[in-house]
């Protein structure tokens, strides 16, 4: 884990500049990924001066945030402060909401994803997403994991890829004998792990998780937490959570959003939880303010 201070509210501009110039060669989304050659703490997703509006109301204000590669970044904050909105900006799922408007810049591997020439479908193939509520397709378990592979024409060795993804998601042992059964017969926790398997099967670079454990019991939650830590070896994980302990346990970096859609503090998780700069953050974390 890196110790350098990145993008706290006041220092954001200086740091982010240097972060961008560190990998200027990376460009369009159509290029092959060269992830293996990048060092562990490079920035992969970065927002600069990001504003998001739903119709007239502003949901996010001036967000500057640099998400490091191959680490777990947690986002915490009270309900309605815009965490999900930020997450949806990263893979442009906000495009599906008619009234949503995004201003400012959000780069992925140095390329602004809101540029005209970026194909949101191509972007989403490199940035996977797991939703707050498990949403498996009403198809078989096998077909659920195969869905992304089929839509993205990655059907070589499909059986092996599916087995591996289910193993990574810690679900294989529970479902290996019923791959052709409906995914809807699984329990909520199993469904959520299936959704994670589905997301990692297509081998994205970043995985966005919106409160993936909010509907799960402690055992399923801890399985998912283990999984996230494992995933961080290969993938960049951005996770929204309402659970402070969870954020403290699994993340390397933590971003705290507060009501009104502002990013109050972004730093190493240890620092945020032990010695936050902002009094409001401390109040929020200790439960004095929600």
């Amino acid at each position: 884990m890196t110790t350098e201070d990145m993008a706290t509210e006041t220092e954001a501009d200086d740091d982010t500049d240097s972060l961008v110039t560190s990998d200027p060669g990376k460009g369009g989304l159509s290029e092959n990924d060269d992830r293996g050659t990048v060092m562990a703490a490079d920035t992969i997703v970065e927002s600069r001066d990001l504003d998001v509006f739903y119709g007239e109301t502003q949901a996010l204000q001036n967000i500057d945030l640099a998400i490091p590669e191959n680490q777990v970044t947690a986002m915490i904050g009270p309900s309605g402060c815009g965490k999900s909105t930020f997450l949806r900006c990263i893979n442009r799922m906000n495009d599906l909401i008619d009234i949503c408007r995004v201003d400012g810049e959000l780069t992925f591997n140095g390329k602004n994803v809101y540029d005209e020439d970026v194909d949101p479908v191509a972007l989403r193939r490199r940035i996977g997403m797991v939703f707050q509520h498990p949403n498996p397709f009403p198809k078989s378990i096998y077909d659920n994991v195969a869905y992304g592979l089929r839509t993205q024409d990655k059907t070589e060795n499909m059986d092996a890829v599916i087995e591996e993804s289910l193993k990574k998601a810690a679900l294989w042992d529970e479902v290996k004998d019923q791959l052709d059964k409906s995914a809807l017969n699984l329990s909520g926790g199993q469904q959520q792990r299936l959704c994670i398997a589905r997301a990692i099967a297509v081998d994205p670079e970043v995985i966005l998780m919106d409160e993936p454990a909010s509907a799960l019991d402690p055992i399923a939650t801890s399985k998912i937490e283990d999984l996230i830590e494992e995933l961080a070896e290969e993938y960049t994980v951005v996770i929204v959570t309402h659970n402070m302990q969870q954020a403290a346990r699994i993340s390397d970096k933590t971003a705290v959003f507060l009501t009104g859609g502002e990013l109050v503090e972004f730093d190493d998780t240890d620092k945020i939880f032990e010695n936050p700069e902002s009094q409001r953050v401390e109040d929020y974390i200790t439960g004095k303010f929600g």
Partner: protein
């Protein structure tokens, strides 16, 4: 110091709920009773049950009715047996409908020359591609190739019609139907045996060869029945034999379901025994209006000779065309309006306006659609440069089919929209989140999920179309026709039209007996058509869990 009632918790009044429950019960009772009376009334007349003697009733009560009721009582609390019985009856009905449709479309309307041409250029390649697509799931070009075949195939077929028909004529009609129906049917049977019932290769091959042998061995037997042609035998063998064989095998291999075989056994056995007893004791039989003669002859001035044959063929022809038109245009419109059309801004207002208009169109009386059909398909003569469009003829099959399609299109669109809208947004998001395009999302998530709902709406709408009289009168369909239509531009008569005409004839036998027979035929055709659609719907409901 809260005051507590003596009797523990006290009681919450349910009075309003109970009153409401019995009100709804009463309403449904009235509806069911009215329907029951209507059915009993027409069946009574159509089957001529009035003239049957007491002995006849007694015999059939003992041999048929009592055992059937006994079976129902036995199967009441055995879901597996009930499911088996429903499957047996459903597949038989569906098979009957399929063979009926095949005889009408392939043999009566198209004839061997036309059929074999389009079989070679369209049907066979499309089915082949479909099967390949099922087998090789990852071949994404298959869908496009099917679409291409559907466009190019008919053109090639039309060009080669003369040549292929000549070759087909050398084979003879039975030969054509043997090669185009029985041989693929044998392949299908072998595939089903191996795929669904895990039969070994030898058994599957045996099934296929058995079907072929049965087809040929049956020919001499068929030749002894004067009204059945060899072509008809081949069509029925495949279209009825395969579904029935499938249902029988499926039931036989599940021990819990085997008792379901009692139903067909009781029905057939009871009928045969009853027939024998009635003959032996010389009981007076009913003299039904609805008999084989009624179904196979055209109308006549004598009630006893009158029949519904041209109208049945006309109606089935119509319903096939209408279902194709409405399904393609209705589902297309619904998917566009729900998934693609802009929902905000100025264009969103236009979309909303269109939606409101479609709802209004669904309520427009059918005469108005008749008028519309008359205006745009019959009484018209416009010139676009060198091209003159003078309509597609008064009372032709195509005019009638397009008019009826316009009539039910709004209903189909609305119900399909409802079905598409009922697909949860979270599934669409899941699909987009996986990097699927809009087309992939619609194709793989939205359509499979909404198909059962779309089919339900289409079935209901088609039921309305098949019973319409007014628009047919408006576009000039003739009431009295002695031959069935044999092409799109042939004039036709349809069942409701023919029944309507009979209902105003002076002879009482026409007004009661013949009309009732016609109504019962209409109901049976409607019911068997629905049974096919319901089977298709259930299959999709199972597939999407």
């Amino acid at each position: 110091m809260a005051t507590r009632s003596e009797s523990g918790f006290g009681e919450v009044s349910r009075l309003r709920g109970i009153v409401f429950k019995y009100l709804t019960f009463g309403a449904s009772l009235v509806g069911i009773l009215a329907l029951g009376v209507l059915l009993a009334y027409v069946f009574w007349d159509a089957l001529g049950l009035e003239s049957a003697g007491t002995a006849w009733y007694l015999t059939y009560t003992v041999t048929l009715l009592a055992p059937l009721l006994g079976f129902l009582a036995y199967a009441r609390d055995k879901p597996e047996v009930t499911a088996g019985a429903i499957e047996l009856v459903g597949f038989t009905l569906a098979g009957g409908t399929l063979s009926f449709a095949a005889i009408i479309v392939l043999i009566v309307i198209a004839g061997p020359g036309v059929w074999v041409t389009y079989f070679l250029t369209v049907v066979a390649p499309v089915i082949g591609l479909f099967l390949y697509g099922q087998y090789e799931r990852e071949a994404t070009w298959v869908g496009l190739a099917m679409l291409g075949t559907l466009v190019v195939g008919p053109i090639v077929g039309t060009l080669g019609l003369g040549a292929i028909s000549t070759v087909a004529a050398l084979l003879g009609a039975p030969g054509v139907y043997f090669l185009s129906l029985v041989v693929p049917g044998a392949g299908l049977a072998a595939f089903l045996a191996a795929d669904r019932f895990d039969a070994s290769r030898r058994v599957a091959l045996g099934v296929a060869v058995g079907l072929l042998v049965l087809a040929i061995v049956g020919v001499p037997v068929v030749d002894t029945v004067p009204i059945v042609a060899r072509s008809v035998w081949f069509a029925v063998l495949v279209m009825l034999g395969l579904p029935v064989g499938f249902a029988v095998t499926n039931t036989a291999r599940q021990p819990a379901r085997r008792a379901a075989f009692a139903l067909p056994a009781i029905a057939i056995g009871g009928f045969l025994v009853g027939e024998f007893v009635v003959g032996a004791i010389g009981a007076t039989q009913p003299s039904p209006w609805l008999d084989w003669q009624f179904l196979t002859s055209p109308t006549s001035s004598l009630p006893a000779d009158a029949g519904l044959y041209p109208a049945v063929i006309g109606s089935v022809f119509l319903i096939i065309l209408v279902s194709i038109f409405t399904f393609v245009f209705g589902v297309g419109t619904a998917v566009y309006l729900e998934e693609y059309a802009p929902s905000s801004g100025l264009l969103g207002t236009v979309t909303r306006l269109i939606n409101v208009n479609i709802s209004n169109l669904a309520g427009v009386p059918s005469v108005v659609y008749g008028l519309l059909g008359l205006g745009i398909f019959v009484n018209i003569n416009i010139q676009f440069g060198p091209v003159v469009y003078a309509g597609i003829g008064a009372g032709t099959v195509l005019t009638a089919a397009m008019t009826l399609s316009l009539l039910i299109l709004p209903i189909v669109v609305i119900s399909a929209q409802e079905a598409v809208r009922s697909v949860p947004d979270s599934l669409r998001q899941a699909s987009y989140g996986m990097g699927a395009t809009r087309w992939q999302t619609i194709r793989n998530v939205v359509l499979p999920r909404s198909l059962p709902g779309i089919l339900t709406g289409t079935i209901l709408a088609l039921g309305r179309a098949i019973g319409e009289t007014a628009p047919l009168i408006m576009i000039g369909a003739v009431a009295t026709k002695y031959n069935p239509p044999s092409g799109l531009f042939d004039t036709l008569t349809a069942m409701p039209l023919q029944i309507y005409t009979w209902a105003f004839l002076p002879s009482e036998e026409f007004r009661y007996g013949v009309v009732a027979a016609g109504v019962v035929t209409l109901l049976i055709v409607l019911l068997s058509m629905n049974s096919v659609a319901i089977l298709v719907r259930n299959k999709y409901q199972q597939e999407t869990y």
